[in-house]
Symmetry: C2
Subunit: 401 residues, 2 copies
């Protein structure tokens, strides 16, 4: 019932499935893995690929456009799905979601003689990290204790979306899922974030925003209001949620209200495709909002390059057309390019960048020209020394405050 | 920090204060009390008045316009305030709020020899009753066990707002507090409700709606969006909530999100009064929404009579002007009258109506011409026989489903 925009169901394997799937073909020698995790409001995903025999890419030759282009990666790529993050009185439980996914990966890739997989680096992109997880150290600790590597990165999902969509290039990216947030950055000096304020304060044009406005149009028809009603949306909402008087109790007693709202977005998209004027209007407004969010993130000092990413963009041409037109009006100098990859691709890109400074028992990776630099609240780096064996349990992060 | 629209602070006495205030002047004989309670999203209130020596009003001569017009009532009127209702996984906790207020009343009015007050009838108007309290029997039981009377009424706050605003006359009333709901009724055959769907699905034009839109305008200025920003609202929101990045954690981790949003409405009203165009626009839109809610509740079969009630109407002429203009455009045949009283007055009116069928040890009240009739989910009646003494603990309600 939730809106899972980026999940490619044809390629995604559930955690349970992975435990029972056939053993992958054996490596000549045990591989070292890159692990990437995307934790979102509508689910979480892990992808792991074996490190290629070729050197890791240098910072001036990003390969995020081709994240799975080596034969080993394509053959042994491991994908798992997990639950969505929950927001409670203590903030979000990203670390628990990460720990569960890592445990499933270790079980799935433990060798025939019980040897656990060797992980070279791991990176997490997490929703709400900028505002609701006060201390990324808990996520670093979850990665380190689960995977046995101190080479870890914890990023806001806005940054992994950016890395995935622009492949490491500077510019602005708006990520549209259950929520909506844009980040304009060159990964160095400029870091401008816009929106991402959650379903009550913003996330304008996101799935939760579209769904909420769709349900309001349904209720306007139900109440007989003079304006704003949509009988097709009322019929669709009754089909999805049952009798109207039950809707408040279904929504307000749940912790995942934004996801429940977002679950109605496919119905709005379908009604718009069938010509419902209220639905077309909602998607048009959503596109305009997203364009304003994106334009405001394209700060001075950044190249005029921008992209939008997220499955909500599939809601239809009403949304994407309005987004493109409004963005062109606001920033006629800028190029709006298609997204090159998903936030999970961006997290994998980030994990790969982590290995650039690593010494390795199997490869001699070059020292990077421009190493990753931590930047709160967007990017936090685990600084555990890879050699000798880690013994302390206190992580050292970039700037967790 | 919450928006408490209807509370007259000059006249309201806190529960703690009541316990330490001077003993009221003694009655020649122990009085019989009418108790009325209003349970809302931003607080709860109890008012109790001694039954007048004159007969109770008949249904065709409502006296809600003058609820405290006898000398005894004015001298001995007791007012207490309590906490607001909380919405949890099991619905709202109206019964607990009612029990606490009743206990405070009994303590405050227990006689010098330890005799508890004798209650003739008690009525509750409660927020969310139509949707989030599946069984009003728990509220009847709280009244009966706390006050010792089986003559009880439990009503949705939309009904007590109606009774207070129109004094028992047929028509439509929109009640605007933290939420917004309208009810069109003749208390007999026509019962049309509009909006009241809560802060995520509706409550258009309410304090939570105005506050949320004000905070969005503040964040639009903070983000540098092309449209919709208000720097005065950004300054006001920083003064109230602190640094912008802390806002989501302050809001999304709380159970009373609608109240937190509504707490910003006075700032929007102040900014509008100072000429901020974005704030004026928000209040104007709120007024239009409220007019549509009210017009949709004025169903066929009702006289063309309507009123708006609630402290949010004090947000300024931008709101009330837009409400009046839009309502006149939608229903040029109808009269929009000033509200005659508050929802608490309406609950007291309801308690008074309950005594019309009662036999009494001190007065002989007439048999009513048109007795109250239960109507789910608006009005539920406790049917405990007043004579003999109640011994069962199972309440009989009108139609709790």
């Amino acid at each position: 019932m939730t809106w899972t925009p980026d999940v490619d169901l044809a390629r995604t394997e559930s955690a349970t499935d992975a435990l029972t799937s056939p053993e992958p073909p054996p490596f000549p020698t045990p591989p070292r893995w890159l692990v990437a995790i995307d934790v979102g409001g509508s689910g979480s995903r892990l992808v792991a690929v074996p490190l290629p025999a070729v050197p890791a890419p240098s910072a001036d030759r990003p390969d995020a456009d081709h994240p799975t282009d080596t034969p080993d990666e394509a053959r042994h790529r491991t994908e798992l799905t997990g639950r969505s993050v929950a927001i409670g009185p203590d903030g979000s439980d990203v670390a628990d979601v990460v720990r569960d996914l890592c445990a499933s990966f270790v079980v799935a890739r433990t060798g025939p003689h019980g040897a656990p997989p060797v992980v070279a680096a791991a990176a997490v992109g997490a929703t709400g990290l900028a505002t609701l997880v006060p201390d990324p150290a808990t996520v670093h600790a979850a990665l380190r204790t689960s995977l046995g590597t101190g080479r870890t990165a914890v990023a806001a999902d806005a940054l992994t979306a950016h890395l995935g969509a622009l492949g490491g290039r500077a510019g602005a990216v708006v990520a549209v899922g259950t929520g909506a947030i844009a980040l304009g950055t060159d990964l160095r000096d400029v870091w401008r974030r816009t929106d991402g304020w959650g379903h009550l304060l913003g996330d304008l044009g996101s799935a939760s925003w579209i769904g909420a406005h769709g349900l309001r149009a349904a209720l306007a028809a139900h109440d007989g209001r003079a304006t704003g009603g949509s009988r097709p949306l009322l019929a669709a909402a009754r089909a999805r949620f049952g009798p109207v008087p039950t809707w408040p109790a279904q929504l307000y007693t749940r912790a995942d209200r934004a996801q429940v709202l977002g679950s109605f977005t496919p119905d709005v998209a379908a009604a718009a495709a069938a010509g419902d004027p209220a639905s077309v209007q909602i998607l048009t407004e959503a596109g305009r909002h997203l364009a304003e969010t994106l334009a405001a993130a394209l700060a001075p000092g950044l190249p005029p390059l921008a992209a939008a990413t997220g499955g909500v963009l599939a809601a239809g041409p009403s949304l994407t057309g309005a987004l493109a037109r409004r963005f062109a009006a606001l920033r006629p100098d800028a190029e709006l390019v298609p997204s090159a990859g998903t936030p999970l691709d961006g997290a994998l890109h980030l994990a790969r960048l982590l290995t650039q400074g690593a010494t390795s028992s199997t490869t001699d990776a070059p020292t990077p020209a421009t190493p990753l630099v931590a930047r709160a609240p967007w990017l936090s780096l685990g600084d555990e020394p890879p050699v000798p064996a880690p013994s302390t349990t206190t992580p050292i992060t970039g700037d967790p405050t």
